[in-house]
Assembly symmetry: C2
Homo-oligomer: 301 residues x 2
C-alpha cells in the first residue's frame, strides 16, 4: 500500500487525574502512522527541530514507518504541547503550546512520495493542507482532519479544501461548530453538501458516526475499563481507519465500516498507556483478536 500522512510530531507533557508523563513522544502524525503501520508501511511527512531527543526516535524505527519525509530542521525547535485531562478523562485543557517548527514552512514532500494513493492530511491549517493535497495528483483517497481553531479562523479555506478531498474526519463538537447542527445525521449531511464523499464524526468514548451517500453507520467505542491517557485516540482511530482502507483498496460503505472498526480497536489499545507505549507492545494478532471480540459484541442477531 502507499499510505502517507502529513502532520505534527511533538513532545508532549500529559497530566491525568492519576499520573503524568513529561516530555513524551506525541503529535498527530506519529500517532496516526504508528496505528496505520499495523496494516503496512506508512510514509510520514513532518518536521522536528534539532532539539529532538534521540531517545524519542526509537518508536519511529519500531513501527513500519518510512522516514524519508521526516525533516530534522537545523535552528528550529520541536512542537511542544502540555495538556491536562479532567476527572472524566474526556475533557482536557491545554496548559501550554509552543508551535515552534509547526509555525514555519511545511516540510517538503519527497519526490518519491508523490505517487501516494492514500493520503491523510492530519490536522493543520487548511491552507497548508491544500498545498499538500496538490502534491498527490494520483491519490485514490484523500482524507483530512481539522479542528475548532480552523473552523473559527479559516473557515473559507477549509470549505475550499472540502471540495478537494474525499473524506473529512472531525469530532462531534467540531461538526456542530462547522454546520450549526446538533443532530449528528443532519450535521453529516451538511458536511457532505460541502464536498466530501463521506464524513466521520468522532465521539470519543461514545464511538464514531459515518455518513456516506450510501448510508449512515454509528458504532460504539470498545468498552474501556482502564483509560490511562486519551491523547492520540482520534489520530490512532484515523490511522487504523486509513490503514485498513489502504491495505484492502476497497472504498465501499461496507469496507468503510470495517475501517471504522479497525480504527476503534487500535484507539482502544492506544489509551491504555501514556504516549505510544501501548502500541509499542502490541502486534497485528492483538488487533485481530480484539477486532473479533468487537465484531462479536456487535452481533445482535
Amino acid at each position: 500500500m502507499s499510505l502517507i500522512v502529513t502532520g505534527s510530531i511533538g513532545i508532549d507533557t500529559i497530566h491525568t487525574p492519576t499520573g503524568q508523563a513529561p516530555d513524551v513522544l506525541g503529535g498527530s502524525a506519529i500517532y496516526f502512522a504508528a496505528a496505520a503501520s499495523f496494516h503496512g508501511p506508512v510514509r510520514l511527512v513532518g518536521a522536528v527541530g534539532d532539539d529532538f531527543p534521540a531517545e524519542l526516535e526509537a518508536p519511529f524505527n519500531h513501527f513500519n514507518i518510512d522516514l524519508e519525509g521526516l525533516e530534522k530542521r537545523a535552528g528550529s525547535k520541536t512542537f511542544r504541547w502540555t495538556g491536562k485531562y479532567l476527572d472524566n478523562m474526556n475533557d482536557r485543557e491545554t496548559l501550554s503550546v509552543d508551535l515552534n517548527v509547526l509555525a514555519e514552512d511545511s516540510p517538503p514532500v519527497p519526490t518519491s512520495y508523490t505517487d501516494s494513493q492514500y493520503v491523510f492530511l492530519a490536522n493543520s491549517h487548511p491552507g497548508a493542507q491544500m498545498g499538500l493535497r496538490a502534491q498527490f495528483p494520483s491519490a485514490k483517497l484523500v482524507v483530512a482532519d481539522t479542528m475548532d481553531l480552523w473552523i473559527d479562523t479559516a473557515q473559507d479555506l477549509l470549505k475550499d479544501l472540502l471540495k478537494q478531498i474525499d473524506g473529512l474526519v472531525l469530532n462531534d463538537s467540531e461538526a456542530h461548530l462547522l454546520t450549526g447542527e446538533t443532530n449528528i445525521v443532519k450535521a453529516g449531511e451538511d458536511v457532505l453538501a460541502m464536498g466530501p464523499k463521506f464524513v466521520v464524526i468522532k465521539k470519543g468514548e461514545h464511538g464514531a458516526f459515518l455518513l456516506h451517500k450510501d448510508g449512515a453507520v454509528a458504532l460504539p467505542a470498545y468498552p474501556a475499563r482502564e483509560v490511562v491517557d486519551p491523547t492520540g485516540a482520534g489520530d490512532t482511530f484515523g490511522g487504523g481507519f486509513m490503514g485498513h482502507l489502504a491495505s484492502t483498496g476497497d472504498l465501499s460503505l461496507d469496507n468503510l465500516k470495517r475501517a471504522m472498526a479497525a480504527g476503534t480497536v487500535v484507539a482502544s489499545y492506544n489509551i491504555e498507556k501514556f504516549s505510544l507505549d501501548r502500541l509499542l507492545e502490541i502486534g497485528p494478532a492483538d488487533l485481530q483478536a480484539r477486532e473479533a471480540q468487537y465484531a462479536n459484541m456487535l452481533k445482535v442477531r
Copy 2:
C-alpha cells in the same frame, strides 16, 4: 408471556425547539407498556385520577395492554408533567410537576397478576418498588428503573432494592451519581457489586451499555435524523428490552444483547413524533425491518 409493569401514567405538556404538545398521554408505565406490547400482552399497574380525559384512554386499548391493574381513583387527580427540551434535544428542564395520585398509596396489584414472571418496576420511590417486588414471588426476572432523586434522597432503600432484583436500568449521569465512577465499565461493576445480575446504562443519543458477569456490551443508538420528542425514549427502550426477554424466555448474555437492540429500535421510533403518536402508527413488521437494518449496520466483519 406474563410481563408486568408498574409505574406512572400522566398527562404531559411538552415543549421542544420546534413545537409543543399540550396535555398528551405520558408516564413511564404507558410508554413501557406500549413498546413491550409489540412482543405480547402486557399487564399494567398504575393509577390515574378521576380527571383523566376519556380521549387519552384510546391508546390503552390500541396496544395489547391488560388494564385490570389500571385504577381510576375517585377524588384524586392524575400526575402531570410539563417539560422543555433544549436545542440539543438531549437536555431538558422540568417546568412543572404535580405528583397528585403518585403521592398517594400505590394502586393495588390484582390477584390475577401475582403469577407474573417478568416484572419491570418503572421509576418510583425504592420503598414502593420493594413493596411491589414482594408481590411477585414467582418472578423469573425483576428489573427496576430509578432516578437521581432517589439516589440523592433514598439511597439506602435503593441499595436494599438492588439486593432483591435481577437487573437495574438507569442513565449514565445516574450511574455516575450512584457509584461516583465516571468510567462506565467501572460504574457498571460497582452496580453489580450492589446485587443485581446485570445493569443497563442508557446514554440517550449515544446508545446503551450492558454489564453482566459474562461480559460487557456497548451498542449505539439507531441514527435518528428527525427527533421530534425524546420523552419516553428510556421507557420505550425498557419496554422493548423486557418485551423481547419475556417473549423469548432466554436470559443469556447473547439474548440480553438482542433485547437491547429491540429496545434501541422501538425507542428510535418513539422519538419521531410527540407522545405515543408514532408507536400508534407502527406494528411488529416495522420493528423487525428496522431491527434488521440496525443489525446490518453493526455487522463489521
